[in-house]
Symmetry: C2
Subunit: 148 residues, 2 copies
């Protein structure tokens, strides 16, 4: 099935390019609206998605020092977007999680990014909608499985 595989590859490429282009515009808009930096939104996204444990962990994942992470998180805490509490198991460490306001902000972002999909899909036939559901479920599982 060489031909089908090539078509798939091209399809994925075009979709990725179009989606990224739009996502970046939305991302930039959120930055302007909220006054948050790229890194700060990235931190919120990491907390939303799960897998970011402490301050140093976030620094590593984001590619900067734990000092920078501490400062960035501090601003997010002051803005009521992140809740920072002591870890009872290891009192050196901090437990970080999205505060309600931060969760709402992230959900609003996801809304914006997905609205155009929902718009187009509501005019599709049930069979076509099932196609989208099946495909996106596969892709979401693939994305989650790859934790590298």
């Amino acid at each position: 099935m060489i031909q089908s595989s090539k078509l798939l590859s091209q399809t994925v490429r075009e979709w990725s390019e179009a989606f990224m282009h739009r996502s970046m515009r939305d991302f930039k808009r959120v930055m302007n609206d909220t006054g948050l930096s790229f890194s700060q939104i990235n931190i919120l996204m990491c907390l939303m998605h799960g897998g970011c444990e402490g301050v140093s962990d976030i620094g590593e994942r984001m590619g900067f020092t734990n000092a920078a992470a501490s400062q960035a998180i501090d601003r997010l805490v002051q803005l009521d977007l992140v809740k920072r509490s002591e870890n009872p198991q290891d009192r050196r460490g901090k437990q970080l999680e999205l505060a309600p306001k931060g969760l709402a902000l992230m959900q609003k972002g996801i809304e914006a990014r997905t609205r155009w999909v929902e718009d187009v899909t509501e005019s599709l036939t049930p069979a076509q909608q099932e196609t989208i559901i099946a495909a996106l479920t596969l892709l979401t599982e693939a994305a989650r499985a790859r934790t590298d």
Copy 2:
């Protein structure tokens, strides 16, 4: 088909969240590897996608002044990522396009973002692959149609 529509909405939401989380990590990695800023990569993406005409146009789309756009583009030109030439129709304006090096960089980025999809899809059945192709084609067309 209320139930199916709700499921679709939820599916899109989860996919969007997972994809964005991964894309942002890749985006940050490209920033670190190349030393380019968020805005500079965004400009390259805009030129790649088409629809960014001159310097001021880019400034408007990116949400900053044309002075900032001029400076950002100048750095990209110095790095051989963007080709800036005079517009023969209106000699005040500049024609901007990706230089070969810039095009290669963007394509490498798309590669990275789509590799995980290609990885998972190559183990799927032809029928499942067709499902993905059909869904992503629909979504890509939707993304392109919405030029707002």
